[in-house]
């Protein structure tokens, strides 16, 4: 027991290296199951490309629906990874060290998943490059005053920077893994480690660049979801045209992302036997962020409704009445339950360290935040300025399959990554080993 409470550097290496051992049959069955769903989604997308967007439920005036909901949802999921890896790094938050790699990996794959949806939504996906500025003879250039072009720049920058940050952070860890591996893994780690030896000269440059990248990623993460929110807020549509959207979306992104971190970490910690590295202390702190951002999001819902009432704008009021009491009303109230009511349980310190309860709460938040985007996007479009145009959207099987495929795709990539690269940063956990020891003692006390 004494040893378990006082891990050494070697213990940390051993625990993390154990996650890189060849996985068993159960793991591959799980990956195979996820891959099957991904294949079904690829089939659905192929059919959509062949048949056209008519196979979706999109209909005037609701031409943005589930695909754009998924895009916003996945970009939002990505944000908490950068919050944990960059913003909490700048604040020197102690509990981030053991969980930031998993969160950052989640970010990388969530942005990749998000990036697929504008392509899927385009219908003619092969024309995606029309959003990019390049010399051409057609007399066409993207309109830089359009939020969709800002979005293309913001999301592609975010994708590049978040992966750069992840891969730079991996260098010392894969170098450590290289020394303890053999065969193809050793070759792979040798390539990714770039010959890293951990000399004082290398650490000098690494520490500086890591700090500066965290400093760059921090405003980036806030800008990206603000830009995503402006895809909507810049339009004149009732339900979208609101100045509150940027902070409201950023808070919502961190809320949903931290919930997704918990959804991933809780089973991962158990399956990879990382109980001594990721403790109740880490979950307690994550839960506090979820609680805080839930309160911010709840406040945003109230403010949004208040501003609609106060504006006395009949179009806005009609849209909000439809949001509460129209055909999507049950989804709105389910969203309120998931995002505003369920997280209130996190006020209880006992629930914040009860992993089963946290897992259930995190699932509710994931559902709630997906619904929030759907209610805002599809709900607002269905009730535009002209009641004669109103038409309610129902997702088709193609859209549902592709949506399910995106979750499977994300989970499959994350699951594969966990077994190939160190999912807990050995370097940073060692750097903060005294905090981990303290956390373990606290966790045992709580368990007792």
């Amino acid at each position: 027991m004494a040893d378990a409470l006082k891990p050494t550097y070697e213990d940390i290496d051993r625990a993390v290296m154990r996650t890189l051992e060849p996985p068993g049959l159960g793991y591959w069955l799980g990956v195979g199951f996820l891959a099957t769903i991904v294949l079904l989604a690829i089939g659905a997308w192929t059919r959509q490309i062949y048949e056209g967007l008519g196979v979706t439920g999109l209909t005037q005036p609701t031409m943005w629906a589930i695909y754009i909901t998924n895009f916003v949802f996945w970009v939002g999921i990505a944000h908490s990874g950068t919050l944990i890896s960059a913003i909490l790094f700048l604040f020197r938050t102690r509990w981030r060290t053991a969980v930031y790699r998993a969160a950052e990996t989640m970010t990388g794959f969530a942005v990749i998943t998000a990036g697929l949806f504008p392509l899927i939504h385009l219908g003619r996906s092969w024309f995606f490059y029309w959003l990019l500025p390049y010399p051409n003879e057609r007399g066409l250039q993207p309109d830089f005053r359009s939020p969709l072009v800002w979005d293309a720049f913001a999301v592609s920058t975010y994708l590049t920077v978040s992966w750069t940050f992840l891969l730079v952070g991996l260098i010392p860890d894969v170098a450590a893994a290289r020394e303890k591996s053999s065969g193809w893994r050793r070759q792979l780690y040798t390539v990714f480690a770039l010959g890293w030896r951990g000399s004082d000269e290398q650490w000098r440059h690494f520490s500086t660049v890591y700090l500066l990248m965290a400093g760059l990623a921090t405003p980036l993460v806030i800008s990206v979801h603000s830009v995503v929110s402006w895809d909507f807020a810049m339009a004149q549509l009732p339900g979208w045209h609101s100045t509150i959207f940027a902070p409201y979306f950023v808070a919502g992104a961190i809320f949903s992302g931290c919930a997704m971190v918990m959804t991933l970490l809780i089973p991962m910690r158990k399956l990879l036997h990382l109980e001594n590295e990721i403790t109740a202390w880490h979950f307690d702190n994550l839960a506090k962020i979820v609680l805080l951002t839930s309160l911010v999001v709840s406040y945003a819902y109230i403010t949004e409704s208040f501003m609609t009432w106060y504006s006395a704008d009949p179009f806005e009021i009609t849209t909000f009445n439809m949001r509460y009491w129209g055909p999507y009303g049950p989804l709105f109230w389910l969203m309120v339950f998931c995002n505003c009511v369920v997280p209130l349980f996190l006020f209880s310190p006992r629930i914040r360290v009860n992993l089963k309860a946290l897992f259930v709460i995190s699932i509710f938040v994931n559902i709630g935040m997906w619904l929030e985007r759907f209610v805002i996007i599809a709900g607002s479009l269905t009730t535009n300025f002209m009641p004669s145009q109103w038409a309610f959207y129902h997702p088709s099987l193609t859209e549902i399959t592709i949506t399910a495929g995106s979750f499977a795709w994300f989970l499959m990539l994350f699951t594969l990554f966990c077994r190939v690269f160190p999912i807990v940063s050995m370097t940073e956990v060692k750097e903060g080993i005294s905090w981990l020891r303290q956390a373990l003692v606290e966790s045992y006390k709580k368990a007792a």
Partner: protein, 170 residues
């Protein structure tokens, strides 16, 4: 002509390795460098390293990115004017968003380039004195000194708490 050797001390404790670095640097016995399994601020202080030039790379990249963003948006809008809703062709507020994103992008990529350049990565040749354990659970202090001084360096390393001291041809 005297031969040079690398005297390598392996430490389990960070503080002891810091002590060894300070002692060796103070003695002026030879060039000292260190290995650590994580970025140790104490070791970096003891080595009295100057600030990394990577900072300048990030700054230059950021400025270049922001300027590129403005050049791209203003230049292309003027070359291909497209009137939308009475908005000016050169609309600075929306262009700031593109310039901001490119500032971050170029800044981060320049930082990566700076790390690779100044950190001399990728580097697949061995670094003198490196041992696999220095990436895991030991701190390494290496001093490159004249053969005749090696004994003194070994003694200093042991007195500082090195659990293992080795010599390697320099």
């Amino acid at each position: 002509m005297s031969e040079f050797v690398n005297v390598i001390g392996s430490f389990a404790d960070e503080e002891e390795s810091v002590h060894a670095i300070e002692e060796l640097r103070h003695s002026g016995i030879g060039a000292v460098h260190a290995f650590a399994p994580f970025p140790s601020e104490k070791i970096q202080e003891a080595m009295a390293q100057p600030k990394s030039p990577v900072r300048a790379c990030v700054l230059a990249g950021g400025i270049t990115g922001a300027l590129s963003g403005f050049a791209l948006t203003i230049g292309l809008s003027m070359l291909w004017p497209h009137y939308v809703g009475g908005k000016p062709i050169v609309s600075i507020p929306p262009f700031v968003i593109i310039a901001f994103e490119l500032m971050i992008l170029f800044g981060a990529l320049s930082g990566l380039a700076g790390l690779l350049f100044f950190g001399r990565l990728p580097q697949f040749d061995p670094i003198p004195g490196y041992s696999a354990r220095f990436g895991s659970d030991r701190f390494g202090v290496v001093v490159r000194c004249a053969d005749g001084e090696a004994q003194r360096a070994e003694t200093m390393l042991r007195q500082s708490g090195a659990e293992q001291v080795e010599r390697e041809a320099g």
